[in-house]
């Protein structure tokens, strides 16, 4: 069996039952891995009782690797987690890099399915065939950095391999609805609040150490392809940009096209912008590079602030999204404070996009008198007040004062704050939009609106393809020149980017950043050579399509309908200056075309025959016969 470890671990925290089930090869070929495995298994688990609280024992949690995870080549260290989201109430998933996925496969498992809930703090210990549910009382309350170090130290023993930890911090324990789960401190399953699912299950961490090796279906072909790709990587400007500046390199690209939201999406230009650009990052807080398993791109940053109010120890540095949410969104030009906010989010275990966006939302509420210093315990939450931003991050992590209201995310906070605060929201389906403005790239707007988990730039390849960083000429819908500020043809583009993107990023395990220079042929070839399956581009896109419908169907089961496939008023407000001046996505046109292409009915539910045609009769029955 090439690529796969060969079994999936099922752990029930209520009964304590643990079982390793062999991976079925027909299933593996059809669902590829990662999100494909996760969504199908999750659907099978909940189909008897699809109505439950995301923070109850009834919400299963799936963690799945792809066939490429753990291979020794650039940009394939990715893996996914999924469950019903406590933030949105819908299907939630995250795509993560780091080292945990590879280590899990070395231990012999392609994934873990966690059901039930423990009654006291617990962690899962995996060392090859030895799998145990253990007492985590000692670790409960620790931040993600501390629990990572302590757990590795506690389990070092005689082994030369230190193992990997995937853990929640205090935010997950406190059920912050955008709590994250972190591997090795800086590799984070951030979006949709799945850390709170663990908190509710009293699951603090998973420790894994594996000593096995992975097989490759056709090792000579795989080696030849790696040699071909090495030439592609050497000197490539996108890769060199990532190596030199990490994801922060997008600051200087995105500002040209108006991609970067500012002042809670009200501006696309700002005099102090360069203060938090990649050059300043390098000069003020950068201490080095970090990477994921076997990846030579090394786009992750390490940062430190040695003294002052925003002092933090050397550790994972802020990514582009974090710089934008705590920086441009809040008109905060203190890079040190952005690094500090990132450090607090990482340690508490919180999604920086939702956290920063929620604080920007709160700043606008403060500006408009909807909340005052009385509500904020004296914090002067004005635009650019870096001290107040950092203090508010901590209050959210602790759920202290107004931090408790904001810990539910901006959509839930707006319900409590009232007034015209909903006008300041930047959410789709209660998930805060990432830092890419659809007014400059209309296809992003459709991608945000129809994404099953809410506004998302990772659910498909629309962002890299429409943004121009990725070129897939083998896919006809993506071969022509793409004009950002146009809505024509963007429904077709979205469908193709979803079908191929689900295969590429979410099932196979390619990284959207480090692997963006591959074309479709190279990507499919790599999966062919590793698995030994004779996949074609058509077959992997068909798999991606099937998985897209499962995701959509899951969110439909959890309540998504057509009225939720909309952009918030704030993102649909025309800018009167800047690079996107006068541009607005034609959502009516794009949604109409998208619904036709996807076979969605007027309510936004896939037509029964579409699902049946993809072999998803059980999902159709759940949606139509229940």
């Amino acid at each position: 069996m090439g690529g796969y470890a060969g079994s999936i671990l099922y752990v029930d925290l209520t009964s304590g039952n643990i079982e390793a089930r062999p991976l079925d090869l027909k299933f593996a070929r059809e669902y590829i891995g990662g999100l494909g495995f996760g969504t199908k298994i999750y659907l099978d688990l909940i189909k008897g009782k699809p109505d439950f609280d995301p923070l109850s024992a009834d919400n299963p949690f799936v963690l799945m690797t792809g066939p490429l995870t753990g291979m020794k080549t650039n940009a394939v260290a990715r893996w996914t987690v999924g469950a019903r989201s406590p933030l949105t109430g819908l299907w939630g998933d995250c795509n993560i890099g780091g080292f945990f996925g590879a280590q899990l496969k070395f231990a012999g498992y392609d994934g873990i399915v966690i059901t039930g809930a423990a009654t006291s703090p617990t962690y899962l210990y995996i060392e090859d065939a030895k799998v145990e549910i253990r007492d985590a009382e000692r670790y409960w309350g620790m931040d993600t950095y501390t629990v990572n170090d302590e757990m590795i130290s506690d389990h070092k023993g005689a082994s030369k391999k230190s193992g990997q930890v995937f853990a929640i911090g205090p935010a997950g324990e406190n059920l912050v609805r955008f709590a994250s789960i972190a591997n090795n401190k800086g590799h984070v399953a951030g979006r949709t609040g799945l850390g709170a699912v663990w908190g509710a299950k009293k699951l603090k961490a998973i420790f894994v150490r594996g000593t096995g090796k992975l097989e490759v279906g056709y090792s000579n072909r795989f080696d030849d392809l790696r040699a071909e790709l090495k030439e592609l990587y050497d000197g490539n400007i996108s890769i060199e940009g990532l190596r030199a500046f990490g994801t922060a390199s997008h600051m200087d690209i995105g500002i040209i096209s108006g991609d970067i939201p500012m002042k809670n999406w009200q501006q696309s230009e700002w005099d102090l912008f360069d203060e938090i650009g990649p050059i300043e990052y390098e000069e003020k807080i950068l201490t080095g590079n970090r990477t994921c398993y076997a990846c030579g791109v090394a786009c992750k940053r390490e940062a430190e602030v040695k003294e002052g109010a925003f002092r933090f120890d050397k550790g994972p540095g802020p990514e582009y999204e974090t710089i934008a949410t705590f920086g441009t969104m809040c008109l905060n030009s203190s890079l040190e404070s952005i690094g500090k906010a990132n450090d607090i989010c990482n340690r508490y275990g919180m999604d920086t996009i939702t956290c920063g966006s929620t604080i920007a939302f709160a700043m606008e509420c403060f500006e408009n008198g909807l909340i005052t210093e009385k509500d904020t315990d004296g914090l002067n939450l004005t635009w650019g007040n870096s001290e107040a931003i950092v203090a508010m991050v901590e209050k959210i992590g602790k759920r202290e004062g107004i931090g408790s209201i904001l810990s539910g995310g901006s959509a839930k906070a707006a319900e409590q704050i009232g007034g015209n605060s909903p006008d300041f929201l930047t959410t789709v389906k209660a998930l805060e939009a990432p830092m890419h403005d659809p007014r400059g790239a209309h296809g992003h707007g459709l991608a945000y609106a129809v994404s099953a988990r809410g506004a998302c730039h990772m659910a498909s390849l629309v962002f890299p393809v429409e943004g121009g960083g990725m070129y897939l000429p083998e896919i006809p819908e993506l071969a022509d020149e793409i004009i950002g500020m146009s809505s024509e043809g963007k429904a077709k583009l979205n469908v193709a980017c979803e079908d191929f993107g689900i295969f590429f990023s979410h099932c196979a395990g390619f990284c959207n950043l480090g692997a963006m220079i591959l074309n479709a042929t190279q990507a499919v070839d790599m999966v062919r050579h590793v698995t030994g399956f004779d996949y074609t581009l058509d077959e992997v896109m068909q798999s991606g399509r099937r998985i897209w419908y499962i995701k959509r169907g899951l969110s439909n089961l959890f309540g998504v309908r057509a009225e939720h496939d909309v952009l918030p008023k704030r993102l649909m407000t025309i800018m009167d200056t800047g690079p996107t001046e006068g541009s607005i996505p034609d959502m009516d046109l794009m949604l109409k075309e998208f619904y036709e292409l996807r076979g969605l009915n007027e309510e936004g539910v896939p037509e029964r025959e579409v699902l049946e045609g993809l072999g998803l009769s059980e999902l159709a029955a759940l949606l139509y016969d229940r």
Partner: protein, 137 residues
């Protein structure tokens, strides 16, 4: 055929613009700090321009194929023209090889913030110098 009818015309327009940029202190200071010598090789029509930032002031030389440049940028004249309006998707142009950049990539990327103000300068420069017919409105 591209937008510019001859090499002479394109060279006149673009070299003139680069000289204008070189005389703009807020941009020139940052370019001079890079110490880079950049060769732009254009096609359709064919033009070579060297922007030399290695001295005390920016030196713009046309037709210079001899000086050793640390950075070599190649693209069509039309792409270059659109670029200076801020109307080229830079990532797409690089990915699709409509623009090719060779040299120390981190140093090239560091120039991006420096040239940001020039996007607003280019249409104004065209109008002020009798090249209004090339303006994109």
């Amino acid at each position: 055929m591209g937008l510019f009818e001859s090499s002479e015309k394109f060279e006149e327009v673009l070299a003139g613009f680069f000289r204008r940029v070189g005389e703009t202190p807020e941009v020139a200071q940052k370019l001079l700090a890079s110490k880079l010598v950049i060769r732009f090789s254009y096609t359709d029509p064919d033009v070579v321009i060297v922007v030399d930032c290695s001295g005390d002031e920016i030196d713009v030389r046309t037709g210079d194929t001899e000086t050793k440049a640390q950075v070599n940028m190649s693209m069509s004249a039309d792409i270059a023209h659109k670029f200076w309006f801020g109307k080229v998707n830079l990532m797409a142009a690089l990915t699709r090889k409509q623009m090719v950049a060779k040299g120390p990539i981190p140093k090239i990327l560091k120039l991006l913030p420096a040239i940001k103000p020039t996007y607003a300068m280019y249409p104004k420069y065209l109008d002020e110098n009798g090249y209004g017919e090339y303006n994109i409105h």
